[in-house]
Symmetry: C2
Subunit: 827 residues, 2 copies
């Protein structure tokens, strides 16, 4: 836990008896923030309105979103007051991230902005620059973005405010996360389920999320659903989510004096924060393992969309309607009337009261903000790299699977990984978590339950059914990939470590979330004040090739394709072929920063190929020749290259190599295994990419390459199309061919099996085809026999199921039983 100097979390103050002066200061802050927001959207010049507004002061292209902004600035202003009163470390999560100007304005007011961006000074020229840069070529984005201090949340794509907020709160017991949820966002699926995060939050050990449902009533062109159901129904819904809702409302046609409105909200906020303080105090008196789920407060903040904006534009109701969503005066430059409306709107905030003679916001206004790191824009929780500590990683070599010889032992690779992770958890009790949609054990990581449990703050029924469920644990499981991804993102962005284990097919559910996180990382790489955070690590263990229970719906290896569309500097894809390479890979992943690491490793029992020293060497190279598996002659070029990426393809390639060394002992076969998929790409395209001479040295420029790949085969072509040897490369992989229920039948269905790979060799090595028609025929017969056996017996044919890599690796020895020559049977 990190403590902000001077902070005293969870102080109860009672409802403060605020004088009109303090309320006027809150109001002035709010007016200043709104003025600065409108200025960002509209103004190029005349920033302090010290002369009449003219056409040339207005930006030629008006871009941005006003509608949600005044609500965001109102909340920010009031939180400032409360944080100061309570010294409460607070992270502000802006669900309606479209309201970017409001957060930039707030950061400018509390001083953070000028500290970070020294050219945006606290004077008239700084205000001019602040306005000009907004959504302007070469300037800053219109949304809350990585460039915005105080943010861990972009808000361009909606749905993740609460899961990010909870991710930030886990293991930060002193942190309040004020999470504003837009009523548009509230309609998304991910947001709708994220309310239930409170069943997995421990009141003792974790921080507090205060959801603020920003019910401004409208989206782009429609009302919001939650704004159009009876209040009793809304109240029931929120109570059903496990919250005590506090309702705050300002109607569209309110003529309530601003100070009265501020007094009402300040009082409500104090009540809510005292309620939280009491819950925390109660939890503090209880061991974290015994604390029950409280009913957490939340706020329903029903205020007009575009609040304080022009009531009517061109005769149409604007404030309090969807018309205020984006830029209410889209043609502000075009008519004197529009220009007048804009000027009146800006002047309604009384800028003459807000700025001093230099154009700096008056100190009595900026003084509303708390000091230093307690400022929400300056909180280190929003710049997680500041808080990040390296994991204490146990030596993974000590967890190695024993591999006396290639294929000489068998492991479920993730189970081996799980043993190491158990020690990772033991050594890092406060900053490492595993997230998964009810699949941690299914994905064979259950060893971790020796060290921890699954955090669960809903009802417990007893040990006979609630195995490993505990009030505080390192494993977070809920049947929602969105939740797992969102929690993990929030956890990482606030400076911790973790991994997400998912079925390979269903990780597509968070394709779009991955996009946003990758974009966030890409942008932060270019922002000096943003410090690197831990990588987002995936472990996809229930993969396409072994969906025996579930079939076709559970088969999709395309997440890799999706991932490699993002910037090469961000993404890494690993396909360790066995347990020790998985260990070595994951050790690397947990040490890395600013990446998304995708690791695919099957959970079914499979042969181990490499002892740990070789595994480390292989992973360090990322790919390499497995000399023990091939039949090369030193100093001579191979006749054919058999390459594999992925555990199942590796098995089939080795089985094919075994057949070839028995059937065609003179054929010079090179076997290559690829762990780090990005090594295939050009050095110019990806930092891990091989140079052309390196690639050609491995794969040759002129010999047939048969590439057995875990996923859709065309990705291999995409990664290698510029290589000299590409015209000779033939890739096999998954082809959406439907379902089957035994492992070998599945690879046969996609022509990735050992027999078909041998046929590929026969067909592609010059001169081999005509001479080896008999071998080709026997391979086809072996396939037919395997299929027929499976259909009769319901399991794979023993010659496949029981195949092992021969103990001796000298080529040409008789080893495994030779395939019977059944070609005659078919004639």
């Amino acid at each position: 836990m990190t403590t902000i100097p001077g902070s005293t979390p969870w102080t109860a103050t009672g409802v403060a008896r605020l004088g009109d002066g303090e309320l006027a200061r809150v109001d002035a802050w709010w007016r200043a923030a709104n003025y600065l927001s409108v200025g960002q959207i509209y103004l190029l010049g005349n920033p302090l309105l010290r002369e009449p507004l003219r056409r040339e002061h207005v930006k030629p292209r008006l871009l941005g979103h006003w509608g949600t902004t005044p609500g965001l600035t109102f909340l920010y202003a009031h939180l400032n007051r409360a944080i100061r009163a309570r010294s409460q470390p607070t992270l502000y999560v802006t669900g309606p991230g479209h309201g970017g100007p409001g957060l930039v304005a707030s950061a400018y007011l509390d001083g953070t902005y000028s500290e970070i961006y020294s050219d945006i000074t606290r004077d008239a020229e700084g205000v001019r620059r602040l306005f000009r840069q907004f959504s302007f070529p070469g300037g800053v984005p219109s949304h809350v973005a990585p460039e915005t201090p105080g943010s861990i949340h972009e808000g361009g794509e909606l749905g993740y405010a609460l899961s990010h907020a909870y991710g930030a709160a886990f293991d930060n017991p002193g942190l309040l996360v004020a999470a504003v949820v837009g009523d548009g966002e509230a309609e998304t699926g991910p947001l709708a389920t994220s309310w239930h995060s409170n069943k997995l939050l421990n009141p003792h050990q974790d921080g507090v999320v205060l959801p603020i449902l920003h019910l401004n009533g409208y989206k782009i062109a429609n009302p919001a659903i939650l704004a159009r159901i009876p209040q009793a129904e809304l109240g029931a819904l929120l109570a059903g989510y496990g919250h005590k809702p506090y309702f705050f409302e300002v109607p569209d046609d309110s003529d309530e004096p601003p100070l009265v409105t501020h007094r009402r909200f300040a009082g409500l906020l104090d009540e809510v924060l005292d309620d939280i303080a009491e819950i925390k105090a109660r939890a503090a008196r209880t061991p974290s393992a015994a604390v029950d789920r409280p009913v957490w407060p939340m706020i329903v903040f029903r205020t007009p969309k575009g609040w304080t904006g022009p009531a009517v534009v061109d005769g149409k109701k604007t404030t309090g309607s969807w018309r205020a969503h984006q830029v209410p005066l889209a043609s502000a430059r075009d008519t004197p009337e529009h220009l007048r409306v804009l000027e009146e709107w800006l002047r309604s905030y009384r800028p003459q009261e807000l700025f001093d003679d230099d154009g700096a916001v008056r100190a009595e206004i900026t003084g509303l903000a708390p000091a230093g790191d307690l400022r929400m824009s300056a909180t280190p929780y929003a710049n997680g790299g500041l808080l990040l500590r390296d994991l204490r990683l146990p030596d993974f070599r000590e967890f190695a699977a024993d591999v006396p010889a290639p294929g000489g032992s068998t492991s479920e690779a993730p189970r081996v990984l799980g043993q190491w992770l158990t020690d990772v958890i033991r050594q890092n009790p406060g900053n490492f978590r595993i997230f998964g949609p009810d699949e941690t054990a299914s994905n064979r990581l259950q060893a971790v339950y020796d060290a921890t449990g699954k955090q669960w703050n809903a009802e417990l029924y007893g040990p006979d059914v609630d195995e490993h469920l505990v009030r505080t644990g390192r494993v977070m499981e809920m049947l929602s990939e969105h939740q797992c991804q969102g929690w993990l993102e929030g956890y990482l962005l606030t400076g911790r470590h973790g991994l997400f284990t998912s079925y390979e097919a269903f990780v597509h559910i968070i394709d779009s979330m991955f996009n946003q996180h990758a974009k966030w990382l890409k942008v932060t790489n270019d922002i000096p004040w943003r410090r690197p955070i831990a990588s987002l690590n995936y472990l996809l263990s229930s993969h396409v090739w072994r969906q025996d229970h579930n079939g076709f719906s559970h088969q999709d290896p395309g997440f890799i394709d999706h991932v490699v569309n993002k910037k090469a500097e961000i993404v890494r894809v690993y396909l360790p072929p066995d347990a020790n390479t998985l260990l070595s890979t994951y050790d690397h992943c947990l040490r890395s920063r600013q990446y998304v690491n995708v690791v695919v490793a099957g959970k079914q029992p499979a042969p181990n190929w490499l002892a740990m020293p070789e595994a480390i060497e292989h992973c360090t190279r990322g790919l390499g020749i497995w000399e023990w598996a091939g039949t090369e002659v030193p100093g001579e070029k191979p006749d054919v290259v058999l390459a594999a990426a992925g555990d199942v393809p590796t098995l089939e390639v080795l089985a094919a190599a075994d057949i070839l060394r028995r059937e065609l002992p003179d054929l010079k076969v090179r076997v290559i295994n690829v762990v780090d998929l990005m090594r295939l790409q050009d050095a110019g395209e990806h930092p891990h990419g091989l140079t052309d001479p390196e690639f050609d040295g491995l794969f040759t420029a002129d010999r047939p390459i048969i590439f057995a790949y875990h996923g859709y085969p065309w990705l291999i072509h995409r990664l290698t199309y510029r290589r000299a040897g590409h015209p000779n490369l033939h890739a096999r992989g998954y082809k959406e061919e439907g379902t089957t229920t035994t492992p070998f039948d599945m690879v046969m269905l996609n022509d990735l099996d050992r027999y078909h790979l041998v046929i590929d060799v026969v067909d592609r090595v010059p001169g081999l085809g005509p001479a080896q028609a008999g071998l080709r025929q026997r391979m086809q017969d072996a396939r037919l026999r395997a299929r027929a056996w499976t259909r009769e017996h319901g399991e794979d044919i023993p010659e496949v199921r029981d195949w092992v890599w021969p103990a001796s690796d000298s080529p040409g020895r008789p080893a495994a039983p030779t395939l019977p020559d059944t070609s005659a049977d078919n004639e």
Copy 2:
């Protein structure tokens, strides 16, 4: 509306006074369904248990899921009784689709299965085959699947039961959709928000969804959250969703006699259905435009997981725990004790009472089912192609944009499409809907509001803010891509037509749903009794190149990459370059069957290139040479090929061609435009693919090809890597380069702009480079000038913004102002 013969929807019966005989029949059906389910999972032989169970009777690999099955069969049995009593057309949506055996068993009992699959006869041999085929090589999937009669819903990926159910209910006023929602599924985001679908359902014009929350308490390895909150909290949640929950509970340790349990549930179901009948009767007395949202009933069905299975296995509680999720006796063959448990379990259903001497289920049991198409497994609503009628499509030629010459007019292409869609809606008032996440107007389809409105059954505030909101309308908007996709899928799968318009970047939110729908279509293509359904049509109008308001988070053209991973027979991708090609494309899409059509077309004002006759010809070819744009000499090979796919790339390619014809009038430039992206692929890979001679004839085998593409450029390489001309192909596209706020700055950022394309030509046409260093320099200067202008003025430089294709197409004419030679300035 389709009427099932003999159906009388919404009959109120009161709570039936059922005799023990009828209840015993329900119980016998349930026992039979459970017996047949367990048999499918475990048995290879001895199907009727007419001899003692031996090891060889049990399957060697036990695959499938038992846990949810007995609940599904219980509900199915009771719905049978109620449907018979009420003649109520009913569609059963199995959210927990893992419980496949239960639905196959039910379809077998009501006779549908044997009608469709004639080898699964209604006798002992049929039962044996039924058991053997389940999750067996060459057999049927373990989930509810396309192969399962009565299903429109796979349930392998969880989250979409309610959105599918509502999609089925829209415009089917006589249809009851009984939608079983698993408590695991209930944790997913998409499901959590889909409860709110009831705010967009019209009680008069649409059917009824009856959600049944199947609270069996456990997922794979964890309790379900909704099963572990207080009942009052759960009740509040469901009331908050707008439902009246009816609670039904059978505790784990219940010793209630089965007939009592059945009597309780039958009474509850009658109450619920009468409640619905009353709501429908009330709605029928009200015009659909005036009917308000009722509080719909729903059922909370809290029963033990694995109900009726073995209570304890190996000393561990099994029934009533997550251990019952998959195969409770995973090693049933391995020990005599396990075999005994399995035999006892099977015999507990009293098979001797269920089957007659031939092994047919006794007629008094099967007689519980309603007759003919009222059987849930036989309902035509679950085989939408049976109900599908062609759309009446207005002649799109009459809606053509006027294009006096290439570039001679400007349109927002979707706005033109919207005018045609308005007529589509008028002519098809009951079987066509448009779905979108609050973006129909943003995507410029607002003309449709001349013919219809947005369906909205939540509160209305009045016309000043509720534009186009109506109680029944053809446009369905909710801020959830999951909902839009799920509703549309349900609508299509029950035999109607529609389209989904989304921002291009955020359609990734439904990547995984698209996967499942594409898989469904692929499998149904091979199922003769499944009739073709209308294609799923996307319109992605807010695309990557024009996110001026929203920036980097809204930029992702990768949905196309995702889509082309699925079977070629299913997917189509269109990139119409202007309004008339968009019209022609969409006419084709709305006529098509069994495809997923992805259409990307920008919404910003853009030049029209083709008059309608040329547009039709171009779209029919899918791609072609635009002779008017190039400078080819008849009978001679071009020096370079400039190709474009997408509207923005087309504009830039044409502007580049314009520069080239002025700057290098002797250069023979071929301009190709691609509408149908799949034409690029090999004929062997995609049905639309060009043959090699066709491709070579267009693109040449040996001339430089500069390809400006809408999306990630490597997709073009992936699609063309086998072509002879591929080594000469250079693709430009989107590169995740970050954000900018003016259109031309955006294309420059990604090197897709006209100036860079000219540089590409100079660099790649042999001999041109050295000779044209001056042109190259001027192009670079033009870029720098354009960038500097944008940064100063906040909009694009006039020479770009105001560029138009020259009126005359004779090469070499002076046309647009020549670029000033500024190369000296830089020296």
